[in-house]
């Protein structure tokens, strides 16, 4: 035992520390009482496979019954190798990570070829509807290592994804250069509807809800509705199917930067005997952070205080199920003090300064200006499985989103009620209904059809005018058909959407309400093909067309964006934008080497963006540069490359590259605010298991971002910041205590405390990005 420690002394001392702490728990022998239940099915004939043998690691064999079902108990949490053998099927093996009791479906194909043809699918996990689009899944250890970060920030590790930031506490995902209304976020199957148009409006979701985050890169409008021009982020909680009457997990994160603390707990269980099939779960998160720190100074008023909770109940039988889900998100975010500038001369003065002028120190206090946001989601859904294997699912959701923004200054008033009011307040209510029917016919065909509809009302209140009230109705129908024959997959889909929008405004002179109505109708289509040359090598290609109706702010915004010192003006005559997206993916996978590349070419006609009008607006409060919403034809192309290589068993090299090139064809110049080239390289040393301590690893990561040179002249107040290179280190392991597991991760971001600014951070005008941050994460599963 002792002689194994000398590999990595740093990690060893860690392990010793934890072992000493936990020695009292470990006095009795370790209990491993997780069970894996599952079914083995034949994909080609869609029937259960009887008498297949299942072997987990080196444990005794288990044989499936006539329903193809099996159950294995006494398994420890962690990674396991499962080998499935059956006479008419080839032996297949797969890797499975279990932390709680798990139900799996193992899909075998008939003997002929295949090693990689087995896929493990948990019950109820939504597979991407279109398999020929590039998609990435983040779960398990990778997801754990992002705990504590905002949703946008946690996705940054995925190739092709960036974040659009407004200081340290607000970030939203950018897929292939596109964001906000062009990225759909599906939270537990429901389309997130908030005030997502503003770049400082982060998605109102607690990332701890999800046990799995999938990203579909490329136009996915056919399945998920218009707006999904760039892609979709799907957040999925663990399927509600606990094995024990009571189980759960506790997550805790502590970080030095911002002196952040996060606690998140989850409890789930089931009712036995009489109400077998009734499962429940409650979950809650508390987060608190104070002023974040750059390498030289604190960022005043950047604290976060967040409290979220969710509850779910489901009743599940073999062929039908209903579920109810409710979640509440509430946070209060300080807006960095130094970003508050009135007009353009203030802005120039602000970025001439080497550091913000206001005193910087640490505090948890959140002063004006701040955002106070809450989001409530109620989801009621049900599914029914027909005897022929097809499945009908209905989901109704109601969302309420409220966003209050308090300016740095109190309103000019002596009335105490008015002094308490936010300067700007938005309330948006959304009701949606989605019906989806998945079917499979014969050996080769499968598909889904569906309808969806929704209505949305937005009420704007505020001292300044910014965007009008509106009511929106939308409806869509779609069909997707898939054909699988041996190594070939073909799929195609089409969708028709209708959107009706009525905008209510007030005539300032007569104080009479008037309205304008818009309607949009569009057809969307997609076609794709995948071909698996060998078990190791496959390609896929997809062509899709998607559309997006202009949003209310693009049509009607008329006012000042204080933190950017700009005056934005909408254009009510904007048309829908339409994209034609081509993606091509190639994947090569061996046990020690893996390579995946995705290239895309996205032509967007009538792309809507805020263009500098090159003439200022003069108000009593000063001069503001004017940005007017306009439409141009643009082209975005790029590649995402993922490589991983294990030269020896313990060492893993991972390299991720994301490159985007965006061109505005109308003005024959580059498109503004596109992510710069990003390279993420990591070397990980997997020490493996040391007694009870398992999966111990140590990694060193370098993230290099080049300077964004591709910007048109006079498109920004300051030139893009120089490129930067950051080093992060991380170490972690898992300990099993009496059948429960404790996961620990210790990470240091920006080890060298490098001062840098990122082009996609709106606060780069005023301050540096974050300095060194040491984070300790723990997850205890019981």
């Amino acid at each position: 035992m002792k002689n194994r420690y000398h590999y990595i002394p740093g990690c060893a001392s860690w392990i010793l520390g934890i072992l000493l702490l936990t020695v009292s728990f470990c006095a009795n022998s370790q209990r491993c009482n997780i069970s894996i239940r599952g079914f083995v099915r034949d994909t080609s004939v869609n029937k259960p496979v009887e008498k297949a043998t299942i072997r987990v690691d080196n444990m005794p064999l288990t044989v499936t019954d006539s329903r193809g079902a099996f159950s294995i108990g006494g398994i420890c949490a962690g990674k396991h190798i499962i080998v499935i053998s059956e006479v008419s099927h080839s032996n297949t093996l797969c890797e499975l990570y279990v932390s709680t009791d798990t139900t799996i479906v193992l899909l075998l194909s008939e003997k002929s070829n295949v090693l990689g043809a087995v896929s493990v699918t948990g019950f109820n996990t939504r597979k991407p509807a279109l398999t020929t689009l590039a998609s990435t899944v983040m779960k398990g250890q990778d997801l754990f290592n992002t705990r504590g970060a905002t949703l946008g920030e946690s996705l940054k590790g995925i190739t092709g994804l960036n974040t659009l930031q407004t200081g340290p506490s607000v970030s939203k995902p950018v897929i292939h250069g596109l964001h906000s209304n062009r990225v759909l976020i599906l939270n537990n199957g429901v389309r997130q509807e908030g005030q997502q148009w503003g770049s400082e409006h982060a998605p109102e979701i607690d990332p701890f809800i999800a046990s799995e985050v999938s990203i579909v890169k490329g136009a996915s409008s056919v399945r998920y509705g218009s707006d999904a021009i760039a892609g979709v982020v799907l957040l999925e909680p663990e399927a509600l199917n606990p094995a024990r009457q009571l189980q759960g997990q506790v997550n805790a994160v502590a970080a030095t930067n911002g002196r952040m603390g996060v606690m998140s707990g989850m409890l789930e269980g089931k009712l036995d005997k009489r109400l077998d099939g009734l499962n429940w779960r409650v979950q809650g998160t508390l987060k608190r952070a104070g002023n974040f720190r750059t390498p030289g100074y604190y960022l005043k008023n950047t604290g976060i205080s967040e409290a979220d909770f969710s509850a779910a109940v489901s009743y599940k039988k073999s062929n039908y199920g209903i579920d109810l889900y409710y979640s509440e998100f509430h946070n209060k975010l300080g807006v960095f003090d130094g970003s508050h500038v009135g007009n353009v001369s203030d802005l120039y003065a602000a970025f001439e300064r080497p550091r913000p002028i206001t005193a910087s120190y640490f505090s948890y206090k959140i002063d004006r200006s701040y955002q106070d946001v809450s989001h409530r989601l109620l989801k009621a859904g049900g599914w029914y499985r027909f005897n022929n294997g097809s499945r009908l699912e209905v989901v109704f959701a109601r969302q309420g989103n409220r966003r209050d923004e308090y300016d740095i200054d109190l309103p000019y008033s002596t009335d105490p009620d008015i002094l308490k009011m936010p300067q700007i307040s938005f309330k948006i209510k959304t009701h949606t209904l989605d019906v989806n029917y998945d079917w499979a016919s014969g050996k080769y065909f499968s598909g889904s059809i569906g309808v969806s509809g929704g209505t949305q009302g937005n009420v704007f209140n505020g001292i300044r005018y910014l965007v009008p009230n509106f009511r929106n109705y939308s409806g869509g129908v779609y069909a997707i058909e898939k054909y699988t024959y041996n190594k070939l997959t073909l799929e195609a889909g089409a969708r028709y959407d209708y959107r009706w929008l009525r905008v209510y405004r007030l005539n300032n002179n007569t104080l009479q309400t008037y309205y304008t109505t818009h309607d949009y109708r569009n057809v969307t289509g997609t076609a794709g093909a995948g071909y698996k040359f060998t078990d190791h090598f496959s390609i896929n290609a997809n062509v899709g067309s998607a559309w997006r109706a202009p949003s209310v702010n693009e049509l009607y915004i008329d006012g000042i964006h204080l933190s950017a010192a700009s005056y934005e003006k909408g254009d009510s005559l904007l048309k829908s934008e339409r994209s034609y997206n081509f993606t091509f993916g190639i994947k090569y996978e061996r046990s020690r080497f893996r390579a995946e590349a995705v290239a895309y070419y996205n032509v967007i006609n009538d792309f809507i963006y805020a263009k500098p009008a090159l003439k200022p607006v003069t108000l009593i409060s000063g001069t503001y540069p004017l940005f007017s919403y306009t439409q141009d034809d643009v082209t975005l192309k790029g590649v995402d490359v993922d490589l991983s290589y294990k030269p020896v068993r313990q060492v893993e090299l991972v390299s991720k590259t994301s490159i985007v090139r965006a061109w505005n064809r109308t003005i024959h110049d580059y498109l503004v605010f596109m992510p710069a080239d990003r390279f993420d390289n990591k070397i990980q040393y997997n020490i493996g298991s040391l007694g009870r301590v398992r999966d111990c690893y140590l990694s060193l990561q370098n993230i290099s971002v080049r300077r964004q040179d591709r910007v048109p002249p006079n498109s920004d107040y300051v030139a893009p910041p120089p490129g930067y290179s950051l080093f992060n280190i991380s170490t972690g392991f898992t300990i099993h205590i009496s059948g429960n597991s404790l996961n620990i991760n210790l990470g240091v971001d920006n080890v060298a405390n490098v001062a840098y600014r990122d082009y996609l951070n709106r606060f780069r005008y005023y301050a540096n990005d974050l300095g060194m941050n040491v984070m300790l994460r723990a997850k205890y599963v019981f």
């Binding site: 039908y320 009135g342 005193a359 049900g382 029914y384 209904l433 007030l506 309400t513 009593i620």
Partner: protein, 185 residues
């Protein structure tokens, strides 16, 4: 099939229960009265030697209107001293709302800055103080001392400097930033 219909009807009931959607958005709220419309920056200029020699000039902008400079020309006598009050008004209401009092109430956060063209022989001294320690000027009350004849532009800015006021114009942001034309005869 029975199960399916049971399931569907249970589902429909749930939908109905939550379908009490009111259409609040049709009632568009009028602007909250007494709010932060700062429409007018006014200078009341009184000759220290002759209280009858008095002038009021203003730069005004009503919502959705271009900025109004028609009454923004100030005429001063050479080699004289003037007592000046700066006033901020909300002229969306009648009678006009007085924003000056609110600024005075929060004078520890505010500073009025004057910048004159080099061609103007005009010295501006702030004569009022806030309650910071040490006390800092505010600028709602000022003294203008003129020299020889000339003309030029005078910029008046209301700087908003919460927790950052240090006597300099630099910190904070501008709540008002307007230009008057000044002639010294």
């Amino acid at each position: 099939m029975k199960k399916l219909s049971l399931f569907l009807s249970a589902f429909l009931i749930t939908v109905m229960l939550f379908n009490g959607c009111k259409k609040d958005e049709t009632a568009v709220a009028p602007p909250v009265p007494g709010n932060e419309f700062l429409t007018t920056v006014q200078l009341v200029v009184v000759n220290a030697a002759d209280p009858t020699d008095r002038d009021t000039v203003a730069v005004k902008q009503l919502p959705d209107q271009p900025i109004d400079y028609t009454n923004a020309s100030l005429h001063l006598k050479a080699n004289s001293t003037y007592n000046v009050s700066v006033r901020f008004l909300d002229e969306t209401q009648t009678p006009a709302g007085n924003v000056t009092d609110d600024i005075y109430a929060r004078r520890n956060y505010h500073l009025i800055c004057f910048t004159t063209d080099a061609s103007l022989a005009l010295t501006v001294t702030r004569t009022d103080l806030d309650t910071n320690t040490p006390a800092l000027p505010v600028g709602l009350q000022d003294r203008f001392s003129t020299g020889s004849a000339g003309s030029g532009k005078m910029n008046v800015r209301l700087r908003h400097q919460p927790n950052a006021k240090n006597g300099d114009c630099d910190p904070g942001s501008s709540d008002a930033d307007v230009n008057f034309s000044v002639t010294i005869q």
